[in-house]
């Protein structure tokens, strides 16, 4: 029998306090549109792939309300607990706000269905960037799809906006005041901090066991795959109590399972530990999805092409699982078969740990999909290697889209150890990789293509990292 438990929820929607009984696994979008009848937020794809439902989520962290854009169509309402949700209506002012003004000036809307999402995501840019850089605006709207304009007028509006609005104070609190003065956000934003504090003090978060419940983190895959079934299920919303952290201890990097993709890529610890990681960033999801999606969610979802999983596999990560007792397992051993993982249903991934690589460490991530950005890979692969004097001392090569599970290509990995980097080695490792994979034909490409592509991407790893040791013209 489906459990139809209603749950009390408290949050702030624009400038209103919300106290409501909700199905915790219903979506924030449905609440906004159907319950509150705020219809500026649109439903288009129901899978986080277009950004028409974008809203801002403000969360109190260390005395500051920090805002992120998320796609409300796959955002479980339970995750809004104690937060500030801002829709397009919550950004409207008496007259057009600054962003709207430039959109109107450039006629940067045609049918208008995607437009509120673009405005919301652009507001996120201003909230989180004190410097002016149009590329950063594009990152903020990277998850927003427009079918009409071809983006020309949207780009012109963005360019003119960043030219018009001066740099903002670095201090977040000061920046809010600045953005109010510049007519980018309305004045009530200043009162939100106190309101949220009051909510958080009165509300005790339920952190009972996961047993019998669906464990929900960011929900960015769960709500794509099975939103309708989820509706009547009880949820265990780890994000409501799990701590988010990225730390370094005894030469290891420790990430909480609740770490979002965006936190991962923005972390100084990660940027220092993994050279080149910023290159992967743009190839993975969109900013709105990265803001919700968690590492643990990506791992446990067990998609054969999970991008973050492929990265963590190459880093030889291990997991700390917490259930009745705590245990440790290597990430590569976590995958048993297609969508089958070594995890009891009341266990959650508490931590992900990898050794902080030292000198001579090189890293590269490759991914090709039908569309380069905001798409699911045809094939993805990561390569982590220690090399000096043209010799690979040790390496790990992982790949997705080529087997029922995300994989470390162990034979290739072992083979590489101690070998001199040259074109012959490259061809051999491609051949070995080819012999151990079993891609299937599907909507993301034929088996033959995926086979060819993995080989090309392995070559790309070497060309990116060791081009000076290769005859590149011959290698391709």
């Amino acid at each position: 029998m489906p459990k139809n438990t209603m749950q009390k929820i408290t949050f702030i929607l624009n400038n209103e306090n919300i106290f409501a009984d909700v199905k915790p696994n219903s979506t924030l979008l449905d609440f906004i549109r159907k319950k509150e009848r705020l219809t500026g937020t649109k439903e288009v794809c129901k899978e986080g792939d277009c950004g028409a439902c974008s809203v801002l989520i403000g969360e109190l962290e260390n005395g500051i309300v920090r805002y992120k854009n998320v796609t409300s169509c796959i955002y479980p309402i339970a995750n809004a607990e104690g937060k500030h949700v801002v829709t397009i209506e919550g950004l409207n002012q008496n007259s057009l706000n600054k962003i709207q003004e430039f959109y109107v000036g450039e006629n940067a809307a045609q049918c208008g269905f995607c437009t509120p999402g673009f405005i919301v995501s652009t507001a996120e840019y201003f909230l989180n960037n004190n410097e002016r850089n149009v590329e950063k605006v594009y990152d903020s709207i990277s998850g927003n799809i427009c079918r009409c304009t071809g983006y020309g007028s949207i780009k012109r509006a963005a360019e003119k906006l960043v030219a018009d609005v001066p740099e903002a104070p670095e201090d977040y609190g000061e920046r809010l005041k600045f953005l109010i003065e510049k007519k980018i956000i309305p004045e009530y934003f200043l009162s939100i901090k106190d309101k949220l504090q009051n909510i958080l003090q009165t509300k005790k978060i339920d952190a009972d066991g996961a047993k019998g419940k669906t464990i929900v983190a960011g929900g960015t895959d769960l709500f794509v795959q099975r939103a309708d079934e989820m509706l009547n299920e009880e949820g265990y919303f780890v994000k409501n109590f799990a701590k988010k952290f990225i730390s370094e201890e005894n030469g290891s990097v420790i990430l909480s399972g609740a770490t979002t993709f965006e936190d991962f890529f923005n972390s100084e610890i990660i940027k220092t530990a993994i050279p080149n990681i910023h290159k992967a960033f743009k190839l993975i999801a969109s900013q709105a999805v990265r803001n919700s999606a968690t590492l643990a969610g990506n791992i446990v979802n067990a998609s054969p092409i999970g991008d973050m999983t492929i990265i963590l596999l190459a880093l030889n990560a291990k997991l700390i699982l917490k259930g009745k007792r705590e245990r440790e397992i290597a990430l590569k051993d976590f995958y048993l078969d297609y969508k089958k993982v070594d995890k009891a249903n009341d266990e959650i991934i508490e931590k992900i740990i990898f050794e902080k690589p030292g000198r001579g460490f090189r890293f590269n991530f490759e991914k090709v999909s039908k569309r380069t950005h905001l798409d699911i890979a045809s094939v993805n692969t990561a390569f982590a290697a220690f090399a000096d004097d043209g010799i690979i001392r040790s390496a790990t090569l992982s790949a997705g889209g080529i087997a029922p599970i995300p994989k470390v290509l162990e034979e290739a990995t072992e083979f590489l150890s101690g070998k001199e980097i040259n074109n012959a080695l490259l061809n051999e490792v491609v051949e070995i990789a080819n012999s151990v994979i079993s891609p299937i034909s599907d909507v993301r490409g034929s088996a033959d293509y995926k086979r060819l592509l993995l080989g090309q991407l392995i070559k790309a790893h070497f060309i990116e990292l060791f081009s000076d040791r290769l005859n590149v013209g011959e290698a391709i």
Partner: protein
Amino acid sequence: MKNADVINHVKGTSLFIDDFPAPEGVLHIAVFDSKIACGKITKLNYDKVLSVPGVAAVITAKDIPGENQIGNIVSDETILADGEVEYIGEPIAIVAADTVENAKAAANLIEIEFDELPAVTDPREAYEKGNLIAPPQTFSDGDVEKGFAESDVVIDGRVDIGGQEHLYLETQGAMAVPSEDGKIKIYSSTQSPTAVQRAAAKVLGVPMHKIETDVLRLGGGFGGKEDQATPWAVMTALVSRLTGKPAKLILSRQDDLRMTGKRHPYSADYKIGLSRDGEILAYEATYYQNAGACADLSTAILERTLFHATNSYFIPNVKTTGISCKTNLPPNTAFRGFGGPQGMFVMETAIYKAAEKLGVPAYEIQKKNLLKENDSLYYGQKAERVQAERCWNEAAEEFNLQEKFAAVKEFNEKNNLRKKGVALMPICFGISFTSSFLNQASALVHVYTDGSVGVSTAAVEMGQGVNEKIRSVVSQTFSISQEKVKMETTNTTRVANTSPTAASSGADLNGNAALLACNNILNRLKKFAAESLKEDDPAKVEIKNEKIFYDGKETGMNWESFINDAYFNRINLASHAFYATPEVYFDRTINKGRPFAYHVYGTAIITAEVDILRGVCEIESVDVVHDFGKSINRQVDLGQVEGAVVQGIGWLTMEELVQNDEGKLLSNSLSTYKIPDIFSAPKEMNVKFLEDSENPFGPLNSKAIGEPPFMYGIGAYFAIMNAMKEYNPNADKEIRAPLTHERVLMSLKNLK
């Protein structure tokens, strides 16, 4: 002038069907559709559904009070399957309940069994089996056999072109509200309010005057809501009629993708003959159009393929044959370009391949054969006010074509891992519905006593800016501020017998009708002004910037007080006007005529870059000189060009419809069907407005804009091909669109 629609869009206050407050007691509809592509229904049982709480009605074919028929050109389309199904996604039953969730859950309880038959999804296979929508149609001019005999080079080949999902962001939807005496008002997201009205009347078995269709705006249409908005609107009317309650249906994205038709995939054979120096002497092509299970608009679309078979070129001997093939897919339908893009793509392929054979760049053949003034198009129309060479030459000059070629050459010499290619794409697109009777429109203009103006036309606003253009026409005609002019919803009770807003003709037809209506009122106002000034010549009255002049002198009267005076003097301040495009006709007994009022011209230069290692491509730049006539609104027109170009590039490079052999759509969501995002749009896009292009057929000398620039996207395909050739000269044996990353890499490596 700020676009009034855009102001509401940015605030999120523009309303779409799903945003309207629903009336009390509204029923929500779930559509139960076929899970197989071909077969007979042997059992259909919904006893369990009726006991589900909240369910108000289950409707199948036998419950239809009128005719179970919504076919537009051909009566071959049921609204609910009757005994047999012909595609996955074909509606069989509809369930109405108090909530969307209950309706969906109840629909899942319907029991159905089929006698399954083999599905045909390939148009050539359908042709071989004799499964045709209509008899093949042939256009010809000159003598192709003679032309080929006189040619120095003759080549032939095959082209396969994929379809394209419209992906209007607002899914199909409608809401019906019953009124007294059996009247029903349907709020629909349709490009064709009259088609909805007519089909609903037919299915309900009532006269058309019992049905009122009202359209506020569409969240994108692109042709996908010309004919295919109809079934969903009719379903709401049907539920409303049978239950007496308001009813609403908004398709989920997955339902929309599964159930509705797309741009037609084509397979084609071509043969081209040229002189040694690149003059095209003969061209022959046969198009196998994948029509899907019903006619929809396929025959008209196929006809436009034939009209545009020779694109922007003069060819003395041409023969083309179009075959509309019936397959077990959702009925494919109108999509920006309406068959033109497929016709032009085949032509450009023929030139590309001929250029290889002759050992010259394709652009030399393109340029040599461009249309000239008074050239005869092969369907009998003389090309007038031709801008083909002007656009080409200005593009080459403005965008430094030779320097571009040199820069690309240098880049390719220096780089192993990445290669660039350039292609040019001239276009010539005919404006008018080729079904000549559709070239009519009406407008109803009301001037209110305070001087504000309300305008109703047959045009539907779907983002293309038609409302803004008509506002502009009205405000310029009256010489009043644009704020005084409001565009009303498109409503079949106010403006009847509307042609669909399609064929890029919305602003032309309805702008001209609005212009006529404004002039009617203006003439009465001038007569009244002359009388009240006790002058005798109304022709000397002029309204300028809301002030009334006589014989060039200010009279002291302003628009607002003047209108109020006119009202008290019983001057008629409303006018209905009718416009029909002059001079258009087409004789289908000989397939000759003058089907188009005029043509739109332009040339694009496209530069692509291919990552040889990964097979990933990017469009670096698109530089366009386009013939807008005298643009009514440059921002709107620029947006139409940019949007069309990106949609065209998407069609040929990224947007891949994948079906399995059973006719099931696998690219059935936005995570599997990819349209261009901000990063895959061309890095640079420059659009230059061709100056001094006159067009007496367009309101205020303007030209239609919606569809023509879509076809610039074809250049992207050949730019990528040219880049690939720089790495592997034999990389391009097969012409098959879309040229996805997968196909690029496989072709580079000569793998299938």
